[in-house]
């Protein structure tokens, strides 16, 4: 299951559309890094609205994505974590420490626009 990555100005938007296997998640990670380099993007939004399970591997991979992208000098926002998924993550002891999150794509974009406006 490929995750489409959309270029929107200085941002990249990756929208997860179905359950992802571990291999899919790793592919998303390398795809995003490549695209961030290629387009010199300033930020990445990963929309996880369609993810019905966020287990330890998925959250670790998302954290890695965010950290790698930060090393490129860009920002990552994870958007759309469903309430049940958030509940399960907390029970499991999973955190996305150091990773920005937002309610949905719209909020994520607003967050980034605000951030880049205030720093530029």
């Amino acid at each position: 299951m490929d995750v489409p990555i959309l270029k929107q100005g200085e941002f990249l938007i990756a929208t997860i559309q179905a359950a992802l296997s571990d291999a899919d998640l790793l592919q998303l990670r390398s795809g995003l890094i490549q695209q961030v380099v290629r387009f010199r993007s300033r930020a990445v939004i990963v929309d996880v609205t369609a993810m019905d399970v966020m287990d330890s591997f998925a959250s670790r991979t998302l954290r890695e994505i965010a950290h790698m992208i930060r090393l490129r000098g860009a920002e990552t926002v994870i958007v759309g974590i469903q309430p049940e998924v958030a509940f399960a993550m907390v029970q499991l002891g999973l955190t996305l420490e150091g990773v920005a999150t937002a309610l949905d794509l719209e909020e994520g974009l607003a967050y980034l626009n605000q951030k880049f406006r205030s720093t530029s």
């Binding site: 359950a19 992802l20 296997s21 571990d22 291999a23 019905d52 399970v53 966020m54 287990d55 330890s56 591997f57 670790r60 469903q82 309430p83 049940e84 998924v85 509940f87 399960a88 993550m89 029970q91 499991l92 002891g93 999973l94």
Partner: protein, 133 residues
């Protein structure tokens, strides 16, 4: 109704399949969407442990019934290397694979009942149950 559903675990795709089957069964049994997610997440972790430590194994799912409540039982079994110190393995922060070490204690928190049997060189069997609220 639902007899045992068995999902062989041998690849990362099987993890997805096992947790989807588990969610469907939980939902069919009338679990809330939130509890179905907890069950699916627990299955994902158990199936991943099988893949990481034993390479192959099985997830079995079953509807269960006690006097006044319904539930779901998940049995994750493998014939892998087994766990040397089971008590240590269910303690928070313990891992031998370099992962976060949240696997088993986390699964325990997601479910209502948790049981683990393991014998070195013979495999591991984790049985968890969740009851409908």
């Amino acid at each position: 109704m639902a007899d045992e559903i068995r999902v062989a675990i041998a690849s990362d795709q099987d993890i997805v399949l096992a947790r989807q089957r588990g969610r469907t069964l939980a939902f069919e049994l009338g679990f809330s969407s939130s509890d179905s997610t907890l069950v699916a997440t627990a299955i994902s972790e158990l199936a991943r442990n099988i893949l990481t430590y034993a390479r192959t194994g099985e997830i079995a799912l079953k509807a269960i019934q006690s006097t006044n409540r319904q539930g779901i039982m998940v049995v994750a079994s493998d014939e892998g290397p087994g766990i040397a110190d089971v008590r240590q393995a269910v303690k928070d922060g313990f891992s031998t694979s370099g992962s976060l070490g949240l696997g088993l204690p986390g699964v325990r928190r997601l479910m209502d009942e948790f049981m683990i049997e393991s014998e070195l060189g013979h495999g591991t069997r984790v049985t968890v149950r969740k009851w409908k609220q």
